[in-house]
Subunit: 240 residues, 4 copies
């Protein structure tokens, strides 16, 4: 685990962007899993400017690592957000987008293996300790890509309603996510960005506390190549 | 995880030996952690013949990964066994032996990092699910190299007396071992050999059951490069 | 460059076999290019015994790296020899054999890239300094996989007649081979075996003399991961 | 070889900077060889802003890869320039600077091996095809780090006078440089930046022409991980 404490959100975003772009510049096929959510907005602003119109990133394949289906919609929340934040403004070709969906999650790990694994994954951290769709109460470290039912924890259904914008009729009964085993065994370079005081306590607990399924992201302590990029606020409870 | 089912103990030993020798033949410094115990006796018989008198293995450094001190003795159980089984008959130079001891365990992970990590670790499996000195009831996944007190579990003191040959006066109050975090983050090629019907149930539980501290070796399901070499008996409860 | 001097041909063969088998035991797809000729006969005797009937090598793909077509025959000299020495007695499945042919050589490098490169290549050394089909007088270091015409050097036509067993009517007008650039950029682990006094002078010249197209194998001095395994005779002119 | 054509010098500099910073963000010791000269000035402007005052780059060791001694001065041309362009404004600690000098060049390759090799090297291209101090007429592909005498080529003495600012009394009789073999076998990620119409013909010749000691940088065609970053002018003679 390499911990990097940036002064600001902008610095954090810049550092993550360097890692992403350097991976994307490698020769041959590059496989990269990326996250939606609020934390990476700064990263995508930088990425869009660098990627749009450049053909030297044509070798990069982008993967989502979880998906929340939306009733009545052809694509789920994650892919919709990735398109809006990055794929569409950066003009990423459809042939470079690899979609995890409710239909293919059971063969996703096999597909990743056949594709040669993931060169890099960019992740965020939930204030409750979740990473990807691995939430406390519904996570087993041994899970590969799996399906989580809305009633797996007391609060999950509410979260899913939130995810689809508050409209209960659109909220799904489940979502799919890569599990801890998938991340640990498929990802060569695991990068997490975290900002804000609201997550400072969880940063301390997840990466300096016990490794436990109650704090799913704590498993990343055992990843051989895990880079944690924090802004000063997110690092404010650490004694470094 | 790659699972290899050999027909016999001899075949299992030969396969592990190929992996060890190929690693040892690499250029530059090679760091290899090896196990004592009964399982690898066949491996050491093969290794001794290949290594004794050959100077092209001079670049290899051998590490023990746990140690049980013996009251009144200069070296512990693990190192004594490794010398008897391998270092002495293979004529391995003292400068190639890197000793984990009760005195240096707190800086062992730092040392491994400074040495460039471990290219390979050869491990065995306990019928109770332990690997290295990580036993059920006294193992935390987040542990780096640590000290385990004899009263950490109800049965541990008895085990330690056994380890020193049954003489209670020689039995220590503790031992030291690399922890799960050390193995997961420092070892590039994790190799485990298991033979015999007596371990068949544990093979199934540890590598096809939940990842839990109650079965310490189950964490190896998450290692990105874990090879499990079984004889037919050890594999007899698997549905492959 | 790591140079290993074995006492005997048998030891040389055993060491190469360890390297091959350890690579073949890796998880996921393994890509391995192997050589025909006299030098590796000892290797294949050992390999056949280890591989025949074992399903845990099913993930290995075997590539030939050159081919001499034979007039009137469906397969060339290299593939015919590899089948006889190894594929047939080891019962290697046809789906694991990747054939370089006069028909596909122009897309061979692309194919290798798409396949993920070669994990290991086992090579021999010619007494004239050639490696693969890269002979003095017809080799450019910049060559990828290419076609060599029989009149490219004064002696080549004679060599080709020899290769097909002395029958001029069967001798081709050309052969195909991976070039130096292919080997340097596609092969992660380059292994060469050489035995016999007859090659001792060339071992010295190729690996301790200048890097020059006149001695094609001298380029291997620049490979980042080149292992040269010699018997004592082949090493007899070196001052190690 | 991965060729990246940037529109502008600034874009070229930014892309190289991403690669450098991402390498520098790795955990554990990072070894990076960097170039002086005019081409990388844009890179260092970006780097200085990112590196100055940040302690998370403390694990990076910086190496020069050639040195022109200056009569009467304690340090040579390369190190003086690297200090001015980067080390001093970025406040790089002296303990992170690894100096190749006329005194230690004979053991430099051994040192690099002991240090674990170079994670990345940033290079420029000479209009005459030189890279590092490997100039046409004085370069052997087999060279490790070596000493080049001022009379090795007809024009070299003049170049050396230029290098020391035109003062003949300060011009040395030799310089030292890592050779092609050192670069090929020690550098995991070889990055070259080239800008300007004045080098366009050489870009074509070096990377699309024959691999020959007359064009020393042509050897990089054989590097397994070579990234060539050009601006549009430098790429203007290529048919991509």
């Amino acid at each position: 685990m390499k911990i990097i404490v940036a002064d600001t959100y902008d610095e954090m975003s810049r550092l993550a962007t360097h890692k992403l772009l350097a991976t994307m510049l490698k020769s041959g096929r590059v496989n990269m899993a990326i996250t939606a959510g609020n934390t990476p907005k700064g990263v995508y602003q930088l990425l869009v400017d660098e990627v749009a119109g450049r053909d030297y990133y044509d070798n990069v394949h982008f993967y989502n690592f979880d998906e929340v289906p939306v009733n009545g919609e052809p694509e789920g929340v994650t892919m919709t957000n990735l398109r809006r934040l990055f794929f569409t403004p950066a003009n990423v070709s459809e042939s470079q987008i690899e979609r995890l969906t409710p239909e293919n999650y059971q063969t996703w790990d096999e597909k990743l293996t056949a594709d040669g694994g993931l060169d890099l994954m960019l992740m965020g951290l939930g204030a409750d300790g979740h990473f990807l769709g691995n939430v406390p109460g519904a996570t087993k470290f041994g899970n590969q890509t799996y399906r989580v039912e809305a009633d797996a924890t007391p609060t999950l259904r509410e979260v899913l309603v939130d995810e689809v914008g508050g409209d209960e009729s659109k909220a799904p009964d489940f979502y799919v996510t890569m599990g801890p085993q998938s991340v640990m065994t498929q990802v060569r370079d695991a990068v997490m960005i975290v900002n804000g005081k609201g997550k400072a306590a969880m940063v301390k607990q997840a990466f300096f506390g016990p490794v436990t399924e109650d704090v799913p992201s704590s498993i990343l302590q055992l990843h051989p190549n895990f880079t944690l990029i924090l802004d000063a606020d997110a690092a404010s409870e650490l004694n470094l």
